[in-house]
């Protein structure tokens, strides 16, 4: 019974992710595309919950929906566009062909590899507590933790510097 429920939830999340992804990629209006992206992010958060990783689901909502989506929204706001949308220029046949090849080739190759070489998997994952994650961050993975802090700091400082570029050069 629980297994059927899990598969049903999985199917629901796949549906949410696929719908959101298609909207994010194909919507003419960028704000609608962003809403599609947020839908996908919620679907992926649901998958993390299904895999018994509630901390990751929380972080997904906090970082992606809370921070990155707002950043993208501000970017859309800063770019003034015409009344008939942002993606109005037409595409040549060559570009459409490249787009389809560009997503089909890696998807087919990776899909074949994954289906052809199934790895032994555990059906009931163990829950990782926040305590264990914290021990990992302060224990064996301290360097990665510190480096990502530096990367974030440099990215923020760089963004400020780049955005004030003109005023500096004068």
């Amino acid at each position: 019974m629980m297994e059927i429920l899990a598969y049903a939830a999985f199917g629901l999340y796949v549906l949410i992710i696929a719908t959101g992804g298609v909207i994010a990629v194909a919507a003419r209006n960028l704000v609608r595309g962003l809403v599609g992206l947020i839908m996908t992010l919620f679907g992926v958060a649901g998958m993390y919950l299904l895999m018994a990783a509630p901390v990751m689901a929380f972080m997904q909502l906090l970082i992606y929906v809370g921070a990155v989506a707002v950043l993208i929204f501000i970017a859309i706001m800063l770019v003034r566009t015409g009344p008939d949308g942002d993606e109005t220029r037409s595409r040549s046949a060559k570009e459409i062909l490249y787009a389809f090849l560009g997503f089909a080739a890696p998807a087919i190759i990776l899909g074949r590899v994954i289906i052809g070489n199934p790895v032994e998997s555990v059906s009931s994952p163990t829950v990782v507590t926040v305590k264990e994650l914290g021990k990992g961050l302060l224990g064996p993975y301290t360097l990665a933790f510190e480096l990502i802090s530096v990367v974030l700091l440099v990215a923020m400082a760089g963004a400020v510097l780049v955005a004030f570029e003109r005023r500096l050069s004068k």
């Binding site: 992804g21 990751m56 993208i72 942002d86 890696p106 899909g111 289906i115 555990v122 990992g136």
Partner: protein, 102 residues
């Protein structure tokens, strides 16, 4: 099909959608949205590998946290670059930004 394969296939779907959008999209911000899709696929794949195999679950989750941090940093920088491009070219169309200063 075991659960891990199913999750990996969803991650591949996100990868494919992201790659497709990266080529399909005209504006820099549209491309940014697609990069976020790609990075989400990577995170999903990592957590699935950590949770559903005998590999260290902590490592998988911390790796995904790292990806989320990188995604945030990348979004910040792209926002700054888009601001500059719009100021110079009056559009965020990726084809308009094709001249080099030299």
């Amino acid at each position: 099909m075991n659960p891990l394969t199913l999750y990996q296939l969803v991650a591949i779907m996100l990868l494919a959608l992201g790659l497709f959008g990266l080529i399909w999209r005209r504006t820099l911000i549209g491309m940014l949205i697609c990069v976020e899709l790609l990075l989400n696929g990577a995170g999903l794949s990592l957590v699935a590998s950590g949770q559903l195999t005998k590999a260290s679950a902590v490592l998988g989750q911390l790796g995904t946290l790292l990806i989320m941090g990188l995604a945030a940093a990348e979004a910040t920088l792209v926002l700054a670059i888009v601001v500059i491009v719009v100021r110079r070219f009056q559009t965020s169309d990726s084809a308009a930004v094709s001249e080099l200063k030299g």
